[in-house]
Symmetry: C2
Subunit: 317 residues, 2 copies
């Protein structure tokens, strides 16, 4: 089952069920994705049984499948990325054996083709291609094995980052506020079974194709996560209940052979350049730059659809 949200002028949009070929849809019998997640066990079977999609889908009308969420907790579960970033930021984290995770802005997720306003071209504008899961209500203290059953939907995310602000904020110990503006989501939230055997061990085992201004920038695979999403959910829920609609992110998809497969964010490529050449060569994004992200199955399908958007100058308060 694949779900999307049409813009309708409201903050939460209108939930629709999308056809297997992504070209058609039907309004869901529940108004919003948030409401569906709160009533998931009652409503999921009805949604999954839908097989008639009378309306033609115009991709330009799509919001993020979940346009706002009560909670967004983003991990950094790809070790090859984390080790590079620590080096670049001059940080020596203690080894805890626990997932890395921060709480980010969740009151707004940009849609897949929304232009993204940024306040300043000199803040190190960067994309981060990643996967995420959306849970129903998860009780505090859940074990990882049980958390797997609360992962109701899988999404593809662009976690926008402002790198010039990231290092200083990390060094406060308080984590990121200014360095992490709103994220974007690919158009379709999909149930785990939709991915077949490319969802396994709580990981999205698919290539994430990242193109920056039309040139291939990365094609890393999601299987390399050091922790599965079920382990991230259990980590998040250790001392809190997670409300239905909580989104948990993987962090930038990254593979140890990043010199071959490329990267899912500019910071990682700059890190490689620093290690290999002593200094970064690749600049961050400029206003007008485009970013396209598409996670592909082995047979070339894109179950999450495509993020394709550009950055523009914020016009001021």
């Amino acid at each position: 089952m694949r779900l999307a949200t049409l813009r309708d002028g409201s903050r939460d949009g209108r939930l629709v069920v999308v056809s297997p070929d992504s070209a058609h849809y039907v309004p869901a019998p529940v108004g919003t994705l948030q409401e569906a997640l709160e009533r998931w066990s009652d409503i999921a079977a009805d949604l999954a049984a839908i097989d008639h999609f009378p309306a033609r889908l115009d991709p330009a009308t799509l919001a993020a499948p979940l346009p706002r969420a009560w909670q967004w907790l983003d991990g950094s579960a790809f070790e090859s990325h984390g080790a590079l970033m620590d080096k670049v930021l001059g940080i020596t984290p203690e080894k805890t054996g626990l997932p890395l995770m921060y709480q980010g802005l969740s009151d707004r997720f940009y849609g897949p083709t929304d232009a993204v306003p940024m306040p300043d071209e000199n803040l190190g504008i960067d994309f981060e291609g990643e996967f995420g899961v959306i849970v129903d209500d998860v009780p505090m203290g859940i074990r990882a094995a049980d958390a797997l059953n609360h992962i109701r939907l899988i999404v593809q995310i662009n976690d926008w980052s402002l790198r010039m602000l990231a290092g200083p904020e990390m060094k406060t110990g308080f984590g990121w506020v200014q360095a992490k503006p709103a994220c974007s989501m690919a158009p379709f939230a999909v149930t785990p079974e939709e991915l077949g055997d490319q969802w396994r061990n709580g990981r999205v085992c698919m290539h994430l194709l990242v193109d920056w201004n039309g040139a291939r920038f990365g094609a890393a695979n999601g299987e390399a996560m050091g922790f599965g999403f079920h382990e991230l959910v259990a980590h998040a829920a250790r001392t809190r209940h997670l409300p239905a609609g909580t989104v948990i992110g993987s962090g930038t998809v990254s593979n140890p052979n990043f010199r071959e497969v490329g990267s899912s964010c500019i910071a990682e490529r700059r890190g490689i350049e620093i290690v290999d050449e002593g200094a970064p060569r690749t600049p961050f994004m400029r206003f007008g730059d485009r970013i396209r992200m598409e996670a592909q199955t082995r047979d070339g399908r894109a179950p999450f659809g495509i993020i394709d958007q550009h950055v523009l100058a914020y016009q001021g308060a």
Copy 2:
């Protein structure tokens, strides 16, 4: 004007306007505080004009005035507290000249008399008495002077903390997730004019009386904030719009003469003991412990009402 929310079985409760003597109320002409904040400029004058409070208020029926919020950004704006905590946690933050701030759990605020379940007595259960403001929609990039006009309500908060988890999470650079469970709010959210000249320079210039198991623990004054709330709002909004209902916290209220006035959290007292005696003497909270917090005006009024709650053992997932 003073607003409260009655429990009614829904996640957002029922907004009411409270009489000057806190003993009576009338249902507001808008259902929830979130809705009121989204329509503040249309509705605030009508709410403020209400002067007939026919119903008797039972404090036991009160939820947090804002039972859940789209965003909670907590500062650490009292320098005497910050300096001590850095010492205790073994952290040497870089001096940035900017406010310290993290994004915390906002999908649930406990009510003023709710018992608070914690998963483990050995995690260093601590209270943090602080003040907070609630804004209407704030545009990205706002200046501090303009941010003052978006501060619509002031609240009093107990920011629950699990200290054994706080230091390790800070050292990751990602900030707190597990160390910061849901916060509690005192019963009444008040407009700035309700505080008269005890709201000035974006600061709540009132004593915060903190009693732990019936013994006075602290009586620090909110005037000592190193940044005013308007500066915290502007900091938060540098790279993001703040949705109506965003709550911004001051961090633990603390005064440089903490040896005389006491502290608003246990960690601060333990920090003083470490500095003065080489080791902490005061234990953290135990299941069954009570915490009471009351901010008082010069003439002994408590405009926010009183937080009075106890900790209990979480019974498991």
